[in-house]
Subunit: 329 residues, 2 copies
DNA sequence: CTGAAAGCGCTTACAG
DNA sequence: CTGAAAGCGCTTACAG
């Protein structure tokens, strides 16, 4: 094993062809005769040749890197999404540059990373982007998708579960189950998911002349646990809870249980996401399943098309999920 | 906003200096006068200049990318590790290329990704590497650390919690708590963590003339849940369980609870990792806290030194964690 | 299909 | 400290 400094030139010499031919073998779409291809491949194998990605990117001005920005790694929903995007993109030769943000809106330093590496595309899983930042990506012809978050502006492409339909269905379901007082426990106030889930739920309650009790929380287990304890302390328990995501719902469930409140008899709980833990026997949480596979497929289809030929086309895509009934209702 | 194609040459022209001077301003360590630096910076700002990372890497043959390989995204321990590495490396200008593997030993396709991108270093969080693959990294002078996994070969640098001490302490603790029959629930059989935890635990049991009941599982919630159900079915319950990681321990706890086995009275359970969920009131799991912060700091210190000046120096680093006593003992 | 040559945007000796 | 020039390892017109 030589100290790995084999270039196309070396391969060319050994194969007895020009450096351009070597390049063509590794560049899909270029035309090379079967014979040269074989010679090159053989020589390359012997020398341990590996095309230099940077030289490549320098010329083509494009990379095989997807920037994936994530905030909430504590919510198991997102690591799962990360894993699936990574495997799916790997199949078509793309790698993932992982960016972690602490803010709901991505900041300049993270945007710079994405721009410096000329990523082929960016996926933002649970954060948003300022209009200015979006402009920068547009200028660089880098397609962006907001995954599980949306912005009511025509300049963003987003892929979400259909939150409105979902929360309406959840409302109807809880009412059909006999609830006549209902509470909504919201996630972070400025997130599109929490807002839409509240909206759909409210619509249905209004239709049935039920007033919504609304509580604010933050999409974390502890947030759900704490707010449930506050509600319990008030000695006034609604017939049912719609909790904006599963991880909060687990906190709610634990708080209720600690206070010997029997579920689904004393009150009912519905979550959102269908994370793995929702199915654990301790929780057995009724929840709304996000169609992750379809959401990922949709995201990738768009991105691949845009990488091929950038248009900047924007749209809010919403995909239907489904209710998973377990033992908390 | 122009269509972002500003090069050092453009900046040079506007600033009235040579392209080399522009380059020097952005290359730390190069000497430039205060005056040219200012002129360049001003021109760069006006044009929105951004040094091209690829051109850079092409020459220096090094990148600011760290390859991070991860297997078990389902175990919350690892997403947390990913997040912390990402934030810490970001502070010193490095980004994370995320690689997901399905295998306990990293395969060729993933290694190729790391090599193709000439990552500055690689971290493998819960998988291992063949000796051959390690050689490839060595040839390319890419430092590698095994995080939370180790191999008894002198060629790997690894950073782990001190699993032997930990499991001995857990053994002593359970015995002091009055257990006279004890079981160990192992994780994936070929992992260093599971092997060492068993070893330390066994040592202590032997010392106290207690025979180990050993059960095999796979480091997942379901694995823990299933094996616990099997044990319960045998109508023979040990006084205490040491479960090789927390996520399995949660499964064990749920199975015991479903069978109305009262903890810590009928039996006791100790986990390992101290993941966030271990502290949830439903579980309140006694466990061993892995010193993540220290493990990460140690990993980074080594990697930074090796990136600066590669030696290939290898060692198994073990850092002490501590017992967190909660309500399952 | 193939080769010679230009050039992507930088860094880095080499002079001055 | 600074500029002119070579060169990193590729892709891609341009001829043939």
């Amino acid at each position: 094993m030589l100290t790995q400094k084999v270039t196309a030139k070396d391969v060319a010499k050994l194969a007895g062809v020009s450096q351009s031919s070597v390049s063509r073998v590794y560049f899909e779409g270029a035309s090379v005769s079967q014979k040269t291809r074989e010679k090159v491949l053989e020589a390359a194998k012997e020398l341990g040749y590996r095309p230099n990605e940077f030289a490549r990117s320098l010329i083509t001005n494009r990379t095989k890197i997807i920037g994936l920005v994530m905030k909430g790694v504590q919510n198991p929903f997102y690591p799962e999404v990360l894993k699936q995007f990574t495997s799916e993109f790997k199949k078509i030769g793309y790698s993932i540059l992982f960016v972690h943000t602490n803010n709901d809106e991505i900041q300049k330093d993270d945007i710079d990373i994405l721009l410096n590496y000329h990523v082929a595309a960016v996926i933002i899983t649970d954060a948003t982007l300022s209009l200015n930042a979006m402009e920068e990506f547009k200028d660089n012809k880098i397609p962006v998708v907001l995954f599980n978050r949306k912005i009511e502006k025509s300049s963003f492409y987003s892929v979400c579960c259909n939150n409105l339909n979902a929360s309406e269905a959840i409302g109807e379901f809880l009412i059909a189950e006999g609830c006549s007082t209902l509470a909504y426990i919201a996630g972070n106030a400025n997130t599109s998911t929490s807002i839409e889930r509240e909206k759909g739920f409210t619509t249905i309650l209004k239709k049935h002349h039920i007033q919504l009790e609304k509580y604010s929380s933050d999409y974390t287990y502890k947030g759900g646990y704490d707010i449930a304890n506050e509600i319990i302390a008030k000695k006034h328990l609604p017939d049912g809870f719609f909790v904006a995501n599963d991880i909060m719902a687990l906190g709610v469930l634990d708080a209720l249980r600690e206070n010997n409140i029997s579920i689904p008899f004393d009150t009912k709980v519905v979550g959102f996401d269908n994370i793995e833990m929702a199915a654990w026997p301790t929780y057995n949480l009724t929840t709304w399943e996000q169609p992750i596979d379809k959401m990922i497929a949709e995201t990738m289809a768009y991105l691949i098309k845009e990488i091929e030929h950038y248009t900047g086309f924007a749209k809010n895509i919403e995909i239907d999920g489904k209710l998973i009934v377990r033992k908390t209702t």
